[in-house]
Symmetry: D2
Subunit: 216 residues, 4 copies
């Protein structure tokens, strides 16, 4: 699995620098209580004030201003078990690799750790994957279109997906998908997303990350 933050909302206002995403959120929120133009608000908020203000907004669950910033991730090589769970999140945008158009290649499968760690299980798993790949190729040879041949492909098959979520939805997504009872693969993916999100919006995401590292 490879997760990469490939795009983020960037303010076009004077004084852009590190932390400008959080400053944008704070400035948009401040517009609700102020008659000043946003340029002035944005220019006047120092790093510390932004931090304290965002912490307060999160505490009060006044989360709508966090929607003004979106993050786009490229996720390579997750199983379709996991992508099926991922796309259940409806407040998000997806572009996913299509098995109707892209042929499944050798070596395109995720092996769960619980299987990888058990040599007997691993052998059983790999043999079955191999049977399916043989069947897939044979079906295509017999003239079956790949969009039908893929029915034989195990759900472990890898897929690539581009996903865009705003910061508010990411907070919700992380809460659900980093929970101890979440499925291991989506947790691993969410964990990678969180690390990269925390670099751009540390006030918002670092507390979550630290709780993760402490094993909470």
């Amino acid at each position: 699995m490879r997760v990469k933050l490939i795009a983020v909302t960037c303010p076009l206002l004077e004084g852009m620098h590190e932390g400008s995403q959080e400053r944008l959120i704070a400035s948009a929120a401040r517009c609700c209580w102020s008659s000043k133009p946003i340029e002035e608000i944005y220019a006047s908020m120092g790093r510390e004030r932004v931090e304290r203000f965002l912490e307060k907004l999160m505490k009060l669950e006044h989360l709508s201003p966090f929607e003004h910033v979106s993050l786009t991730f490229y996720i390579e090589g997750i199983s379709r078990v996991t992508s099926h769970q991922l796309v259940r999140h409806r407040i998000a945008s997806y572009s996913q690799q299509s098995q109707r158009h892209v042929k499944v290649e050798e070596g395109s499968f995720i092996t769960p750790p619980s299987i990888r760690e058990n040599p007997e299980a691993l052998r059983v798993f790999e043999e079955a994957v191999e049977s399916c790949m043989k069947a897939y190729r044979k079906l295509v040879e017999l003239g079956v279109h790949i969009e039908d041949a893929r029915y034989i492909i195990p759900q472990a098959v890898k897929t690539n997906i581009v996903v865009t979520m705003n910061v508010r939805e990411l907070l919700h997504f992380f809460k659900l998908r980093l929970a101890p009872d979440a499925q291991w693969e989506i947790r691993m993916m969410a964990s990678e997303m969180l690390k990269q999100a925390a670099e751009v919006l540390p006030t918002v995401f670092k507390p979550l990350l630290e709780r993760r590292l402490k094993g909470e």
Copy 2:
């Protein structure tokens, strides 16, 4: 595959009878241009006026009033190939059978018609499915949890899902999923849904159904 309309929005206004869903949509729309209370509007609109009004709204693409009526379908025995496509529709609600909690049983697989019609392809397909089921059972025997063992299950595996969409979203869904280039299984599913939707809201859905039957 089995598709069953299991719930629909029902007006609680005086004079409920056949066609009351369409009358509700028409009455809600009429509220935009009227100062009369909705009970009066609802009571005063005859069948024909409702029909002409809905046709006009659809022609003008003034579709928001069609959101007031929702339909809930129970869909049994579609493949996870298809459920993965289905849940990409975000303006909808889903409750799907979980492979983390429900064990995959023998005989739970969809065979695409292009495979079923070709005896050689069918044999290849069925053997590979059988290998996977054996591997699945073996993995479980070896102590692998079913949520990990399912990685070996082919995407042809059946699932059940409850889906709720409002009438506006259904119009969009049918447009996309009944298109000639849509994938065969989701087309079959959408086609069944359309038939049942057309019984409840004939003015809205019968024109689509007739176009389908004419092979357009």
Copy 3:
């Protein structure tokens, strides 16, 4: 203000009776953990089991099954102050009376209680409303279209709106709009909606209603 529940999702399954909406939610949720068809699940769940199950789902915040049931309210005579707040809820459907097409009539204004209770304030308020109505009529006389003349109409002006929300969104809406710091008019409206919702889905909404009555 008048609030009336005018439509609700009704199951089409065997054994419909009081509480069928909650039974539908419970049955849809149960489909996630079961391989049985929904008809069988629905038929087998008694009132008490439904209640306990819904309480558990709410406690675990597993709220997606609550989306399968929607309620439609007709709301007559709220101010546009309040309708502007209402339509900020995005997971909902609205049909609102248009001031571009419906002329504002005499006596179409909401007076806040804090003004009504103060004779001097009431006089000031009513005089200003009357000035505006005179100006509105004069503008129309002078050939100004009502869609422009309405710019002079105070925000206290009444509007009618049809709103559909699913049960999950209603839970969220009530939490926000029944909070002690919510604006009085939308609280009053939400409170009326809650009473009527609690008659259809008592397990879901009565606890909220009881907390309201206790003044929590």
Copy 4:
């Protein structure tokens, strides 16, 4: 009215330059049909290929990849007539100045052109606005909270709002709100938004802009 594009999604991929937003959309779309990593796709698409590809996607109404790019506008000094229409667009994020917390000031009103152009109408309008402002101030003096005093404020009152929409939703928004029968103020606002959007995503928005300029 003042409209300003204050933030936009920016790719973090190698080779950022003008037109990188459109290149991101094209690359995300290409991921659906390719097994190549997005970095490679992004690096390999020249300006012209991006343009032709986006035009094709729009023609085919394959619009989901356009959701990966969002634009945030700061809108200063529109009437609450218009903000009420604006927030009806549900696939968007808003932070709006609150009249519960920000006092209405002198001179904070929009005069429709049809009124401004008619001296008699203008006098009637301004006098009524003045009466309301007097009443507002008097109510506050009498101890009425501004959240209630605002009920007397005409709908012409100005508000500021921060709005974020993705490119797909913007296309829909412009189609509706630039239509000849759209209300003049929201058309003016949409027109300003379109001009600024077209500078960032010319392939997507310039055709709309040119049609506007030709008076279509």
